[in-house]
């Protein structure tokens, strides 16, 4: 019996993140918040929402990757998070098939 049976605990060793990294991320998040606030004073037309959402997504990724340690975690954990994101994209994209084409051929 040589089969690999129990998953090897790749993420068993706890990764200690150094404080300077936390500080850098924290400052980046603050800077991005300032950026969002600043940009809201300029009218960019359709890009108002696009840019605000892009910055928000970037910030969320930083939190998940560093504060929540995903960057240092096992492939299995990364896959788990990816599954969530994938499902969310399914929700958005398939719903959009309705919104984009609802009025086709009507006018």
């Amino acid at each position: 019996m040589t089969e690999k049976t129990q998953e090897t605990h790749q993420d068993a060793e706890v990764h200690v993140v150094k404080p300077p990294i936390y500080l850098a991320i924290f400052l980046t998040l603050l800077a991005l918040t300032a950026l969002t606030t600043g940009i809201s004073f300029i009218d960019l037309g359709v890009f108002n929402a696009v840019i605000a959402l892009a910055i928000a997504c970037f910030k969320a990724s930083l939190v998940v990757l560093f504060f929540m340690h995903l960057h240092y975690s096992s492939r299995l954990l990364k896959l788990t998070v990816a599954a969530g994101i994938f499902t969310f994209l399914l929700l958005i994209s398939l719903t959009m098939t309705d919104y984009i084409s609802r009025a086709w051929g009507m006018f």
Partner: protein, 553 residues
Amino acid sequence: MSTIVSLPDQATAKLPAKSYLNQEYGLMSWLLTGDHKRIAILYMISISFFFVIGGVLAGLIRLELLTPPSDLMATDTYNKVFSMHGIIMVFLFLVPSVPATIGNFLIPLMVGARDLAFPKINLLSWYLYVGGGIFVLSAMVLGGVDTGWTFTTPLSTHYLNTHVVTAAMGIFLAGFSSIFTGLNFIVTVHRMRCPGMTWFRLPLFVWGHYATSIIMILGTPVLAITLVLVALERTMSIGVFDPTKGGDPLLFQHLFWFYSHPAVYIMILPGMAVISEVISTFSRKRVFGYTAVAFSSVAIAVFGFLVWEHHMFIMGVSQYSALVFSLMTMLVAVPSAIKIFNWSMTLYKGSITFETPMLYAFGFIGLFTIGGLTGIFLATLGMDIHLTETYFIVAHFHFVMVGGMLMAYLAGVHFWWPKMTGRMYPEAISKTAAVITFIGFIVTFFPQFLLGYLGMPRRYAAYPADFQVLNVFSTAGASILGIGYMLPMLYLPWSLIYGQIAGNNPWQATGLEWQIQSPPLTENFVEIPIMDHEAYDYEWLANKTQHEVQTVG
């Protein structure tokens, strides 16, 4: 008739001196337990309670529909009764039915672990369920909700003054209880398999629950968010679902069905998981096409997320989009069909015996097939215009949910009853109950296909006199069905005291759970087992039994 049941000599047989049932005594030892087996029992008692309430409401619906005018209750009361019936049966009975009871009990036993990965979260999940149940009951007692179980906007957000938010809160809580169950199963299956238990040695029961857990974790949060949005819309008029504020009522439908279609697979996959075990045991054969059955569960879980718009075909969605979803819906029926064919092939040349769980399993196969095929009718764009919102839909989903899942639940409860309690249920009366259930089911729900096809709409208290004959059939069938469900509720508790002692392995089944004492020890296994064979290996079992006979006697 031949049987495979082998019980120990009743004159000398005793229940094991120590088991999870008598490890500790007192109410607190149950309410604060971390033992997955005890939590399963807690769940079983609670869902039975809600099943009875939901069942009484169903009885009231059928009684009202016995005659064409709305004479038993006012029309708005009728709306509240069917809404509460749907909410209770879907969220408080069917979703937790097999996974939270039988699944909770068996997953650790089947993977060879001492408990689930997070016992406390498991207990928390039960408390959330009870909290959700209390909210739903309060909504009912305080005056009811009349949105239907689907909470359709703008009805639920703009036009009703009933307890929508209370009921939604209840479902929100129950949703989190099912997320926690799913989380526990996934981590347990990944992390806690015993040595030698590879993925492809897992019983198909575990595969089915793994697939279910994926849906629970990825789908249920969307339901939770949607219900919160409904509550915010009602209380603060935030406008997401309100066209006058730039929102869209159909957005609610997208979000709701994004969960609720996959949720119908939460309500069937665990049932299929039970059927695989039962069919194999009572035909003494390895499940035909193990890998195909295992992967079809996962395929159902994944592709189940791509079809939700079939609930919205007549609501004014894009026709082009509807075309895509119609096609996807037809495709998702394929993995279900794979399972049906594989079970049939398992029966082929098997040595079949007809114990109670097997009778329920046969009921499942027949009724689920009809239910699934009528789903294809509904997935056809043109046909759906005629059939949607009629009794045809009601018949469709009762065939899959009641004819499918409820039958599977009863199959599972009977199959593992000896393991859970250490005692057998009474065989003759339980077979009668299984047959009564099947007949009652057909008489209740088959006429509803005809009614729907003839055009009787769902969700009305009154109907034209032409439809009465078929409705009388349906109500009569419901009475038979009621007897069929009452019997197990009487003889199962009876068997706790008077049932025959079952011994470790009354069915001579191959699963790990059958190789330990019944009822099991709190820690399940004295020593963590080492798995050295595939699931459903009847030769291994025969060798093992022979070996035991030689050494013991």
